[in-house]
């Protein structure tokens, strides 16, 4: 038997095969689905991002993400530049975590050209990469709480910690956010021992921040009521939809590229991969806090073990760098998920094909599936818990 509501909706041009049977508007009741464009300038969308939603009262019956407002064809730009000249552009993908973008790109090019990275440079990469993860997770949790209506306090706690880390980035690379730090075969500049001491000082303070954040938020009644059981992502769907990062692990799938690929020197550190049980917004929020703690563990170990030595492979070619014909796909566990770069070389100074596999973009695929049946106010939370950055989605 066909659902009259679905038929009705199809007649109105708002039908969708996936919603079959879920549409609850009764055509005789005199009510209608309300179509709302959330965004592109809604503060909860974390940038210029629109969700075309169809509402049945307060409930979401359809949600289509619309983006591309920041599209500048990053990949085409990459084909027009030399390999090295694309490095500062990668900062602008996920502008919260520029250093992990640099890292993924450097890793892909090193894989393409078969380059080695000195040990001290690997340690520095791990240190700045994990610092990036700490500040990203702190910030994304802060913004999530902000979206929920707790304006100010938790976000400012996160910003206070992020500010300390950005100061470290500025001291090392010369820039707070657009770091442009890594090179093929190492890092651009060496860290001084004073800088490492400053990192140690910040890292010693981080567990206290995590405690404070947890005490403030984790057992908060309103937070639990708003986030538990909301936006549930089943593990099968998460795997099929290519969701990566904290959102995947919150669904209970044990997949961390740092453990799977063991790229760089991650096989030397002891750390755990926290997993969620329910895959709801609360789990995604908790996973970020737990990962933050694991990152602190990695930082402590890396700061203890970091050796002396060069930070750049002396054989690495900076000028006239032309990898041989071939292709490579390099990926890392960026704070938001799997960040991959796919490069094809035709032997020239520019890549023939330069592809970015952004985690935020792919994680948005199942936004509709997570939001259907929930209230409008929950959409804001679900989007916040996916943790997107539009610089990366739109490229």
């Amino acid at each position: 038997m066909t659902n009259p509501a679905t038929e009705y909706a199809a007649g109105q041009g708002i039908g969708d095969a996936r919603l079959d049977g879920r549409m609850v508007v009764d055509p005789d009741s005199g009510t209608d689905l309300l179509e709302v464009a959330m965004g592109p300038h809604h503060p909860s969308t974390h940038g210029v991002f629109r969700m075309d939603v169809a509402l049945d009262g307060e409930r979401i019956t359809r949600l289509k993400p619309v983006f591309g407002y920041l599209h500048r064809n990053h990949e085409k730009l990459g084909e027009g530049h030399t390999y090295l000249a694309s490095m500062p552009y990668t900062d602008r993908l996920d502008y919260i975590c520029s250093l992990t973008n640099n890292w993924a790109y450097a890793l892909a090019v090193e894989k393409l050209a078969g380059q080695e990275v000195p040990e001290r440079a690997e340690y520095l990469r791990v240190i700045v990469g994990e610092l990036t993860r700490v500040q990203n997770h702190a910030l994304s949790v802060g913004f999530l709480i902000q979206d929920m209506g707790a304006s100010g306090t938790p976000l400012m706690y996160a910003f206070r910690e992020r500010e300390k880390i950005l100061d470290l980035f500025e001291a090392l690379t010369g820039s707070r956010m657009m770091c442009n730090y890594m090179r093929f075969g190492g890092c651009r500049v060496d860290a001084t021992s004073e800088w490492l001491d400053a990192v140690r000082k910040v890292v010693t303070g981080l567990p206290q921040f995590a405690d404070e954040f947890e005490q403030l938020l984790c057992t908060n009644e309103i937070l639990m009521a708003r986030t538990q059981g909301v936006g549930v992502l089943r593990p099968e769907l998460a795997v099929s939809a290519g969701v990566t990062g904290p959102a995947l692990r919150a669904a209970g799938v044990n997949y961390d590229i740092r453990k799977v690929d063991r790229y760089s020197i991650y096989d030397r550190f002891k750390f755990k991969v926290p997993l969620g049980e329910h895959g709801d917004v609360y789990d995604r929020f908790m996973i970020r806090l737990l990962e933050l703690r694991e990152s602190i563990k990695i930082l402590e170990q890396a700061l203890k073990e970091i050796p002396d030595g060069p930070v750049m492979d002396p054989k690495a070619k900076i000028r006239n760098f032309r990898p041989k014909v071939g292709e490579a796909y390099g990926r890392i566990e960026a704070p938001k998920g799997e960040l991959g770069f796919y490069l094809i070389s035709d032997g020239g100074p520019n890549p023939y094909r330069y592809r970015v596999r952004p985690p935020s973009f792919v994680n948005l695929t199942i936004l509709e599936d997570m939001c259907l049946g929930h209230n409008v106010a929950d959409v804001v939370l679900i989007l916040g818990s996916v943790d997107i950055v539009l610089g990366e989605v739109d490229r």
Binding site: S240, Y342, R357
Partner: protein, 228 residues
């Protein structure tokens, strides 16, 4: 993980006539790939996902590559008979001449899929598919029914490269706006001078004014001619 040859053999056993070819990759990364025939691609993809040993349940990256028509200049040695007049007597001699011949290798669009296994933590297995050409035979089967993560990424390839994925549930432009005509990631794409240009009523008025002025000038010129 199985080697690529073993995977190829397993595919041939499961999907007879799959016609999977191995494409070697000369880079040190050593990520060789499998080229699928579009006709059997969905079957092969389903096998790769559901096979217990491979279990490639995670499609990480989908991307397009444009390979335009290539003009290849070859030097060919040609022997031909030449008639010459030597001392008033016509003679035929054979002469070998080097000639440059040009041939055009037709271009195509390629779609590349990077597969991993979350269940077994291995990968990548790289799949590729080619379209017939770059103009009218640009359709390929969509793998979105097999792996949901292809949904947005195939839309992006449709948008930026112009590959039409048959069987995609919602094939629309994703990054460019709906009214946009071209495919900007193609190698021969030329950006317009003015992205914002839209015909306005003002254009019509302007055109009418110009036509009017031309008629006036012609009339004036004709009057001057009769006046003299």
């Amino acid at each position: 993980m199985k080697t690529l040859e073993e995977i190829q053999a397993a595919i041939e056993a499961a999907v007879p006539g799959a016609g999977v070819e191995i494409v070697p990759n000369p880079a040190p990364s050593g990520e060789h790939s499998l080229r699928l025939k579009p006709e059997t691609a969905v079957e092969v993809a389903t096998f790769l996902r559901d096979d217990g040993e491979l279990a490639l349940d995670y499609l990480s990256n989908v991307t397009g590559v444009d390979w335009p028509d290539k003009e290849i200049a070859e030097k060919v040695k040609v022997t031909r008979a030449v008639t010459k007049t030597v001392d008033g007597v016509e003679q035929t001699a054979e002469e070998t001449v080097e000639e440059t011949r040009k041939r055009v290798e037709p271009g195509f669009l390629e779609v590349v899929y990077h597969l991993f296994s979350m269940a077994r933590s291995h990968g990548p297995v790289v799949l590729r598919m080619r379209t017939g050409n770059r103009s009218d035979r640009v359709d390929l089967p969509s793998l979105t029914p097999v792996w949901r993560s292809a949904e947005f990424q195939e839309r992006e390839i449709f948008d930026l490269y112009g590959v039409v994925f048959k069987g995609h549930p919602d094939l629309r432009r994703i990054l460019m706006w709906d009214g946009f005509k071209d495919h900007p990631m193609r190698r021969d794409y030329v950006a317009p001078d003015d992205f914002e240009y839209e015909p306005t009523p003002h254009d019509e008025v302007l055109a009418r004014a110009q036509a009017h002025r031309a008629a006036q000038q012609a009339a004036a010129a004709a009057q001057e001619g009769t006046g003299q």
